[in-house]
Amino acid sequence: MRHIISVILEDEAGALSRVAGLFTQRGFNIESLTVAQTNDPTLSRMTIVSSGSERVLEQIVKQLNKLIEVVKVTDLTSQDHVERELMLAKISSTSKEGVDLKELVEIFGCKVVDVKDKIYTIEVSGKTKKINAFLDAIEPSNIIEISRTGVTGISRGKKLI
């Protein structure tokens, strides 16, 4: 099963490689990993999407907690949460398809952020499923390049990590 794990850790050199190293060392799988500073500049927040059985997930959480620089670990999947991912996609477009593309942009509620050499750069954000659906709607040969951030997530309401 897919899990979204939020990790608060000290914003120190090497902390990221400790987490990444842990996943390879123990054979845990990573679908995506995002990391950036939080509103407290001494802390980073990392969101890891992983999959595995309940026992594997239990080990992932415990092993992450064991890292000295990790302050807190939560499996967001088990609680009420919001998740988003952002993608920048470069789509080439002939004039006819250009019409389709504008329609698609409207349907998916995304934005055209740039155009150059008849190539549109489109910003899509939402759940992973939505981004995948957008990509499915485009003729594959027209997809020039994509860059996705991976999932980030946060719990709803008063509950903190």
Partner: protein
């Protein structure tokens, strides 16, 4: 007063109460060595190879419980130490390793003797630091010792670039304690879990205590003894736990696992309640997980939550220090009525009668088991015994019943050949008044021979008991059993004359080839109080370690000495109780 980084570092080590540092100098640590030379509180032990430094500090830490300290230079200095660091990591040994690094501006430039020390050691340390400024030295050292010695102990590396040891600053007060917001190990168990565990224990009809290295490292031996005696339960100990409970006591079933006793493994297999205390259900203990303890409920006590339900799902997990948990359980169970387990004991006594450690003597050859028995007799069971890795390690564990914790020093988790000799040196430095024996084989000893030189320089007299069978015995045993006797690379040809070798290092060498010379040689060796004696004992090359659970087997499927058939118990035997 203004001090340079090296002086601050040494001052910090002194304030941590460090008495011995095991190390080897080199370019990146010359300032640190300069600072060591200028003081006399810390004795530096100059090893002959950095792996020896790590094992020496490790043996020291295992013997007296204080953190072992290592000092090595950058590049090959730290890479040579990695095997020793990984060894300590697997067995949860508190150590602080200080490695020099190339000057900060050269980091990443492929400078002479540069390696990414924190990168290389990341997966085999509890934590590591790269010091970036002279002002960080004191807090980093404080953090390193705190992390190394608390919670589940382990090695911590501090990598210090050379320029930081040269820089100067006004000396600041060394912190007395330190708070790390992201590191707060649980020590006290939850009352609720204690009550649940106590309830299960009172109801169990076929209980067994399974004690591991956490009882030794956690200094919980006293509590374990009180708890075990109060309950009257059988107890088995892992390779790492030997001595936590006296093995000569009648409640002790000896070691369990791949080369454990018949009674210990059968009792595990038949048990309805396994209380794991500071043990981690290693594959050498459990064998085939699917067939492991089929009827048991598990209470699992460990300081490290990640060990719980890793290999075996715990019914009642208890996170906490073994010492505190055992105290709490003892208090909880003090006035409780236990189930009658006399039938269980009589079943165990029947298993004990199988006498699974019996071995056949044959005239004209020295049996390795008899060497360990003689060692036990000559040292009256009181010596600190270190070992290397292989058959001799198993025989030492089986035939030298340890009665005290920290008496048995071996590389259990990583299984590092070469560990025994430098560890013996460290043990002797930690406990100079004790007899120290290093049980080894002609394969293992050759991996760290150079430390014989260090042992002369620092006058650490130990007795080396070399079980010389001309083979990498454990490899040969597996090849005999599982590779149709194709003995690929397990024969040790062109061995040195160990007697002359020992003598050339300034020690005493004695070769023993006859059974009748064995005891007199051991007595002679231990009478040489201030000399290291190398006993090269020629043993039976065909001897195998029994009992044995073949890889993938269950605890009830054991190979016993002198029997062609595997002794396998069907379910009815266990249901009889």
């Amino acid at each position: 007063m203004e001090l340079n980084g090296a002086e601050i570092l040494i001052d910090c080590l002194q304030k941590e109460g460090v008495e011995h540092v095991f190390g080897y100098p080199g370019g990146a640590v010359l300032h640190i060595y300069d600072a060591i030379e200028a003081q006399d509180k810390i004795t530096h032990v100059l090893v002959r190879h950095e792996q020896g430094a790590a094992h020496g500090a490790d043996g020291y830490a295992r013997t007296n419980g204080k953190p072992g300290v290592v000092l090595v230079t950058s590049g090959p200095g730290i890479t040579n130490a990695v095997t020793g660091i990984a060894t300590a990591h697997m067995d949860s040994i508190p150590m602080v390793i200080i490695s020099g690094q190339v000057p900060s501006p050269l980091i990443g430039m492929d400078a002479f003797q540069e390696v990414d020390a924190t990168g290389i050691t990341r997966s085999c340390v509890k934590h590591n630091f790269l010091v970036r400024d002279i002002s960080e030295i004191a807090t980093t050292v404080k953090k390193a010792f705190h992390i190394a010695t608390t919670g589940r102990p382990g090695p911590v590396v501090i990598d210090i670039p050379k320029d930081i040891t040269i820089a100067k600053m006004e000396q600041e007060e060394y912190p007395e304690s330190i708070e790390i917001r992201s590191y707060k190990p649980t020590t006290k168990p939850s009352n609720r879990q204690i009550r649940k565990a106590a309830e299960l224990i009172t109801k169990s009809k076929k209980p067994i205590l399974y004690a591991g290295g956490g009882c030794v490292i956690g200094n919980a031996s006293e509590e374990l003894r009180e708890f075990t005696r109060m309950l009257g339960f059988p107890i088995t100990q892992t390779l790492m736990g030997l001595g936590a409970y006296p093995m000569t006591d009648k409640q002790s079933l000896g070691m369990l696992g791949m080369h454990g006793t018949y009674e210990a493994n059968m009792a595990m297999h038949g048990s309805d309640c396994v209380v794991a205390i500071g043990a981690r259900f290693d594959d050498r203990i459990t064998g085939n997980l699917e067939k492991f303890c089929p009827t048991a409920k598990f209470i699992h006590i460990d300081i490290d939550p990640s060990q719980i339900s890793k290999n075996v799902v715990a019914d009642i997990p208890i996170v906490g220090q073994t010492k505190q948990v055992l105290q709490a359980l003892t208090d909880e169970l003090k006035d409780k009525q236990l189930d009658d387990i006399s039938k269980w004991w009589s079943q165990i006594e029947d298993w004990r009668k199988v006498d699974s450690l019996a071995y056949a003597k044959s005239p004209g050859v020295i049996k390795p088991q008899s060497v360990i028995e003689a060692l036990y007799e000559v040292t009256k069971g009181k010596a600190i015994v270190t070992s290397d890795v292989g058959q001799h390690q198993m025989w030492a564990a089986q035939y030298y019943p340890f009665d005290e914790p920290r008496q048995w020093i071996n590389s259990g988790g990583l299984g590092t050949m070469g560990f025994g000799l430098p560890a013996a040196m460290g043990a002797k430095l930690a406990m100079p008044e004790k007899d120290v024996a290093c049980v080894t084989g002609e394969g293992s000893i050759q991996m760290m021979l150079q430390e014989l030189s260090t042992m002369l320089q620092y006058a650490t007299p130990v007795k080396i008991v070399n079980l010389n069978n001309g083979y990498l015995g454990m490899v040969r045993q597996w090849q005999e059993f599982f590779y149709e006797k194709r003995y690929a690379m397990s024969y040790m040809d062109a061995l040195p004359d160990f007697v002359k070798l020992a003598e050339s290092y300034g020690h005493i060498g004695i070769k023993v080839e006859k059974e009748e010379d064995l005891k007199p040689a051991l007595i002679e060796a231990f009478n040489q109080k201030d000399r290291t004696v190398f006993l090269d004992i020629i043993t039976d090359p065909s001897e195998n370690v029994f009992p044995m659970i073949p890889a993938g087997g269950a605890h009830c499927d054991m190979l016993l000495a002198g029997r062609d058939e595997m002794v396998s118990k069907d379910e009815t035997d266990f249901n009889a109780v």
